[in-house]
Symmetry: D2
Subunit: 353 residues, 4 copies
């Protein structure tokens, strides 16, 4: 039953650059949101984005949108260095906020936002878009239901020809996707403890264009992310290994995005073995079927918008809330420090209170 | 012209386990070698391997083969911990030696062998088999001819379901392939300086079953190797990135093993740019053709045998000599130390004299 | 130089169903067209399609659009059975016409249209969209430039889960793509002579859901098209074989759509051989490189629109004119007759005058 | 329990050319056979094949092998035109016979052999090797168990660079594989009724190098085979469509040879529908999982040898008996006639008595 509380959430989109138009398009078609403003420091750009849509105003004055009582929430797609400022202004004006990844330009700034939202009782959501794809939802479901068994490893490759960025390295550009996915699918009680990052800048642009990130996880598990702006071929694969099954996700293969292999190395129970025969007998192969589960086709950003609106209406915490964004920033900052110290292992802060 | 000096090299194969029968088979069909003995501590195993072949004797006494003046050279395929002993005995008896990878169980042992062979003026070859495949030969040719431009990175993935080994971790089992290939294709003047390794042992077998190895190379280049015994799918890919072109090698795609992409990120000459426009203007995309060069089909071990025989007859150093084996051991030992210290960066010894 | 004659062509789109909105969207963004009307028998549907666009009127009265002197041309995307009526009305009103494939519901109707356009001196273009993709343009270029050598064969597979159609079989639904591509890339002097089609209707819906179409081409070449609505996997591959090189086009592999193989079977010149050694000596393998040429990314329909506008302005015949549409209808009708007679070979009419 | 009746079958292999050595190798390692002779008209070739094996005699006199009472059975791998002569001689001598595909050079010759074996009460097996692969065994199992539902279609592609043959066209060279597989997996009561073949000889060698073969099956099902000697890429795929599930077999993908799709087009029960809504309502999509069943790795020829030996010992008919070979010849001859008459549909003889 659709009640009054499910009326569309009045929305302003801030930022009309690369990602903003996607927010605008999805906000317009979603029954859960009602777009009132597009805000951009470049007023013409804002106008271009909303020109043909009735009832949407373009402005270069954020306050104009925030003053309008119809606006209940703000979706922020400005450069990361402005997230703190924009989001804080919105929260201060009593608006719920969804922020493009990364949550902020630093952990400190992100923490500031999280605390501001929590003390104001407002929804702060980090738009970790991939977490709203049917593929990642399926991965989480399989991990959490125990289908994969104990979590052992996650290996992610996200490489392609990427435009070298001015202010951020390849880790900050691409790895937030992998880190937010990792954060989303990890089972209860398993979390990253420390990070080491190795990079190279073969073009001499002053930023790593190739990077390898290793995360030590609690319980002896491991995660690894390979990001690269110099690969002529595009690869988007993630392998999630468990004690029972291992899953391969190939996001570029729409016909078979996820494959679950019931195939692996089995261990005998070591208690059943005398000590000296322990290693020999411990391991045997298992050759089972592979299942590629059917996945719905659905635009992830649409589902993210719906989650944002539902959290506002129901007063609950988003699946990818500000703290999820904070955990990703924790890893990114540690990774940058590790890069600076040539791959030294850097411990994470862990959950902030 | 085929002269007397090209008469087949008289050979003994030591070790009739996993790899030895391949040596035997190749030695028998090669016109460059004449197999006289198969030696194994398990005499029956040696007999089984050479049973049906006329003129090949089985023995469990190495000295028996070494005493025979027809035997000029020995090919060693015993466990790594016995390489020093077997190879040294053979060198002392004046025989040329080819050794299965890794050269020895430690850098010190390997160095001992290299010095022994050098002082005796005998050929010491490390059987880095992959270096004798048409694919790796082509990669080396393209790198050395400058077709790829400046060497920027090498990324190698070698994963599959692998039987957990008793005494060695996944790095010592699989990475010697990648490291010997790296050593073989690197351009003059580019060499590994330091190593960091990260691993996990999610089965609790006392050995890393998953490992990531990063090598810092001179000149700011980087190499990375991912080896994994727990992957349900088999992957064998190596990407070699250069300033002009980038190459993908997929060893499991016989129809298109090597693809050379004339596609990438171009840099403007920074001297032509004012300082402040430097970063913006520096980078542009290049979208060129891909060429998959035709490769001969040839068994690598056959070519390795031929190289060994030719080096003996011509008194020259093999393409993969003892020192190449030593450089691989240098990296492997540093990697083990890094693993032990949770990913600390460990400097390599560099070339021993 | 952009002259007055290059001013945008005033356009009406007729048909707002499945394909019409694509025409509308492309007409709006193209600098070569100016959209004035969307016409549909269902006025609401027409309104929905053009609602948010300024300056575009929705109507269910075709005459309304045809009376407007700003309308110089009409793009028709109505069901095939209405093409004759709609297009003839437009031609009679002195408008240039672009028609969605197939040109008409029958060869006779198509011929009627072609003659009407020719006698009125108006442009009649068949929107064979695939012919305007960079991939097909490249194939045509390679065939016509002689890079493939003599044309030997074309083999096309276009299969996927397809909704069983009410009035047309799988050949009429899917094969127009393959046939228009064949028509477009065939070298001068090579054309289809006869057709045989085999089909099956395993669902019992009264229409073939699986069909195989063979075309005998002049000069001994052959073409074959496999279309299938029951395949759970989607395949879109075309192989074009020539005496020098053979080309593979995989439209579902954006990273490598076209691959040109310099690999094949070579023939000795039979005149150089004695008669009895003719066959033995005639054939040898050639193992050369494969090249995957870089292709621009461009929306095909945009390019088709541009061609239509340019033909109107320059008074020339489109690359895919009415006669091209007619040649496709010739094959489709013959294919239907062959299906009806269980695969009998049916000769084509050939070029109509 | 292994009884006296399971003692190895005494064997002679006739023909030491392309395929014979495979028979020899498998006969030697199989516990079910004991190889005594290799026979070839070229005695040296026979000697080369069995030289190094103890207890195997080489001869160019077939009668020598047939006289030896230890020889119970003969495996024939000579050119097809000699099959009748060799096999008949062996049958007359009271030996069981396994024959390389095709069974004979013509249907008449094949029928002669089948009748001779049947009247002598001897085993006549046609070595349709593919039928003994784990993949084809799995396909048959799934079809026969009803997992795929009603059999609807089979589509097979077997193309690669092939050496143009002197006396046989590409259909006789390659299609016997597909036809024997079709014969093997077809459900009870479903069989080919008629055949049409289209071919091309673009090299002018006097034989079709490209051919398309369509088979009309009883019950409205269809089968199609594409064979081609001029394809620069090797393809080996077979799709088997059923009313419930459709199966894809890619023999060149060892990691996932068979994929079973629970995905398709569903039909409503027409009896539940009023006549005029019949077509509209009849069809809907079904989007289910895909399962890739685990397959054993096993050499097919080994399994074929075992079947031959078991049939001899147990007095039963092989899974691929002479009549299966005859059914394949029936199709091949009809296909040749169809080729000769430019694709005319040719009815099959059906089962001979």
């Amino acid at each position: 039953m659709r009640t009054e509380t499910q009326r569309p959430v009045g929305l302003a989109v801030v930022g009309a650059g690369y990602w903003g138009p996607n927010l605008v398009r999805n906000a317009l078609v979603s029954p859960h949101t009602q777009l009132h403003y597009v805000v951009d420091v470049d007023r013409e750009r804002a106008e271009r984005v909303c020109a043909s849509y009735a009832g949407v105003a373009a402005t270069d004055v954020l306050a104009e949108a925030l003053c309008d009582p119809r606006v209940e929430a703000v979706a922020v797609a400005t450069p990361a260095c402005t997230h703190l400022d924009v989001a804080l202004t919105a929260l201060d004006a009593g608006k719920h906020v969804m922020i493009e990844k990364p949550l902020a330009a630093s952990y400190e700034e992100g923490l500031h936002l999280v605390r501001a939202a929590e003390s104001a009782g407002l929804v702060l959501m980090c738009d970790h878009t991939y977490c709203y794809t049917p593929a990642v939802a399926k991965i989480r479901e399989l991990v959490h239901a125990g289908v994969l068994g104990d979590f052992q490893f996650l290996d992610s490759v996200r490489i392609n020809l990427g435009l070298v960025q001015r202010d951020i390295n390849v880790l900050w550009d691409l790895a937030p996707h992998d880190l937010s996915i990792l954060d989303f699918v990890l089972p209860q009680g398993c979390s990253p403890l420390a990070v080491a990052a190795h990079g190279a800048d073969p073009l001499g642009v002053g930023q790593a264009c190739i990077a390898y990130l290793t995360l030590q996880l609690s319980g002896g598990a491991i995660a690894h992310v390979h990001v690269n702006w110099l690969s002529p071929t595009k690869v988007r694969t993630t392998m999630v290994g468990g004690s029972k099954r291992t899953l391969m996700w190939d996001d570029l293969n729409p016909a078979q995005r996820i494959a679950v292999y019931d195939r692996g190395v089995d261990m005998a129970d070591p208690d059943d073995l005398a000590l000296d025969e322990r290693r020999e007998a411990m391991v045997s192969y298992r050759s089972g079927d592979m299942v590629a589960p059917a996945l719905q086709e659905r635009e992830a950003l649409q589902a993210a918008m719906e989650e944002f609106a539902a959290c506002i209406r129901e007063g609950r915490t988003p699946a990818t809330d500000g703290r999820a964004g904070l955990r990703v920033l924790d890893v990114l900052e540690a990774a940058n420090r590790s890069l600076m110290f040539h791959g030294s292992v850097v411990a994470l802060r862990g959950e902030a209170r």
